[in-house]
Symmetry: C2
Subunit: 408 residues, 2 copies
């Protein structure tokens, strides 16, 4: 029998839990959807609102350095993902940033016309491909292939490959280095969506010779609901391309208010409109907190939490119809564990009603995320104990739990 | 001599000033760039952070109705701009929303290829036109003409006309009804940028038979720095077009996570990624406050403040080289007054150093905005007194004041 208390006692990250608001009695395994609130965020936001906005007003763009927030926070995120500090900029949403990278990558070789991705990728990524292609349907085509057919689809028509490093449903990690190499061998740049990777596992964009990447601020970066996202563009591409979303803050001299667009040097051209300062402020606190931790400790604990969860579900719920949807090997898995179950939706609602929060992903996946900064081994034990009780009593089987909410 | 105290005493909006944080001793005439902080925003944001995010976490998408924030706040803004409540949605930035409307409008008549706007429009609007056209350069062309040549440029090639109702430099108001009619007579839809109109003067989109509009949340709506923007799409167009920025939250069934994009019915398809909830919460407080006021009172006071400012500058600074850049007739002017002056930048810095905050717009414009909810007639008097003193003493003429900051 695993000694859970000993695992938590020996956890080098255990001290981080107290830096977050964790509601009493809650086992929160949904940090891969919305990360918990860092305690420091409250005071930081109050200061931004009351002093920076309330008192300093428009002057804050200069005096409180609002204008550099996207660059400054981008440089911090760069340290989490193996990028140089001038390769990452914060702003807009992951969807919008996918579009920026897609439109930019099309400029690298105008003879190539196919936007390639895989079925089962996070939907917004492939929807943005469709939207971009619809602007120039005679020239640009989106193409989706099964995940196992990506390599054979890398032909001379492909302008760019868009993939997610850690799959949102299964948690399976793509081999970023091998795929990037294979694509480059065919002259194809790659856009990596790091939404379910950044802050949860070591990412080495430059070690993989990556071209473009995007990622989400509100999951493992703990930046708050709908936090700004980020965009990575390798130095070697920055001055060769520009985003079709060519807004004024990506201009070389935005405050000269000229009639013609001239992209700023470097990563700055990937800015578009005015950054949301409240969202940036909250995101920066979350990123600063992550930077205090050692990413190899995070990864080690993430793997251990997932392994323990799988082992306990197999031990206690073997007869209840769960089928592992994630890789059993932690090296192939991000910081989540997913199970198929035909009654997954109702089971998840029953768990949530008992204070164990994961989420459901259609059609049949129960998803449990592990945020090593604040989740404990005791959280995992409690989650499986609750799941076991729900399955043994059949208490999930009610109309109430089967009633789908607006957001699942 | 004007009795300033009597004007303030008779002001039906005077009570609103106390609903805002106004820093002691400051005359803030830059609400057309960043509106002041409503006092109620502080508690609202603390609640969103501490309870909704901190305690309720991911459940807030349903229980605190985060998922409907863009629609709910959009419906409130609709009341300020003459729209139906299902015609406006909040999210992203003005720049991004211009792109959504441009890409959508191109779908109305695929034989038309020109994106038309005017020189001197707010730069981001024309930059977004350029970016969109660069995706399909063989098909789409941006075209800028001088403001007075817009009518003759409305030919059969024009796919869409993009104009700003209230010019950001001069404050001149375009005749939305007449221009929309003229464009429609040539089969051309119009996108109106309301950034310097909404919340400052009555706007009647449906009365003008408008097609598309966008607007800014952080100016007269007092939504905070980088607040989410909004998009208006007339009911008659909503189901015929979709934005090229076709993100997952604009999908018909986002939580089914399908591989193919199917736009949601109605205005919802103009959503893209996950909305920034902190920004939405602050914006909603600002909009709610505006909805308590009578728009005709706002317009009347706005005109009076501007007229008084012009009269006092003419009276006291006639010899100092200022040239009115705004219409003298208040009916043709938004809620700002601008003056040309060759030393405008340094003069504005000197004003700011003395607690009178306006802003500078290249190449030579001093811009003073009037927010009728919190600016008083005494503010106007104090601003001109300070300007007069600066000009009479020549105290603007220093190296410090001529040194340009990152943000002007």
């Amino acid at each position: 029998m695993t000694d859970i208390a000993a695992l938590d006692a020996a956890d080098p990250l255990a001290g981080f839990r107290d830096r977050f608001e964790i509601p009493d009695g809650l086992v929160y395994l949904d940090g891969n959807s919305l990360g918990c609130l860092p305690k420091a965020t409250k005071a930081r936001l109050a200061d931004v609102v009351e002093r920076e906005w309330g008192q300093d007003l428009i002057r804050s763009w200069n005096t409180n350095d609002w204008i550099n927030a996207p660059r400054r926070i981008g440089a911090k995120i760069a340290r989490l993902i193996g990028a140089h500090d001038d390769e990452v900029i914060v702003g807009d949403t992951t969807s919008i940033n996918v579009f920026k990278c897609l439109s930019a990558s099309l400029q690298l070789d105008s003879s190539r016309v196919v936007l390639l991705s895989e079925t089962g990728n996070f939907p917004t990524d492939v929807y943005m491909m469709e939207g971009l292609a619809a602007i120039a349907p005679d020239r640009i085509s989106p193409r989706l292939v099964e995940p196992e057919r990506i390599h054979e689809a890398l032909d001379d028509d492909v302008a760019v490959l868009l993939l997610t490093q850690t799959n949102y449903r299964s948690g399976r990690i793509r081999d970023m280095k091998a795929i990037t190499e294979a694509a480059h061998a065919r002259g194809i740049p790659v856009i990596w969506d790091l939404s379910h990777s950044c802050g949860a596992l070591p990412v080495d964009l430059n070690g993989c010779n990556a071209d473009f990447a995007v990622g989400c601020g509100y999951k493992y970066l703990n930046g708050g609901p709908g936090a700004p996202a980020f965009t990575f563009v390798a130095r070697r591409h920055q001055d060769s391309v520009f985003p079709a979303l060519s807004g004024w803050l990506g201009h070389k001299v935005p405050f000269e208010f000229t009639d013609d667009y001239q992209p700023a040097p470097g990563i700055d051209r990937f800015q578009c409109g005015t950054p949301g300062i409240l969202g940036c402020a909250a995101l920066e606190v979350g990123v600063d907190l992550l930077l205090e931790a050692d990413m190899s400790d995070i990864r080690r604990k993430s793997s251990a939490l997932g392994d323990l969860f799988i082992a306990l579900v197999h031990e206690h719920c073997a007869d209840h119809g769960f089928k592992l949807a994630s890789p059993g090997n932690a090296d192939e898995r991000g910081s989540q564990v997913s199970f198929h179950h035909p009654e997954g939706y109702a089971i998840m609602q029953a768990l949530i009603a008992r204070g164990v929060i994961g989420d459901f992903r259609a059609p049949d996946i129960l998803r449990f995320g592990f945020a090593p900064l604040y989740n404990s081994y005791a959280d995992v034990e409690q989650a499986v104990a609750t799941l076991t009780e729900i399955m043994e009593t059949g208490s999930w089987d009610t109309e109430e739990f089967k009633q789908k909410a607006a957001v699942t």
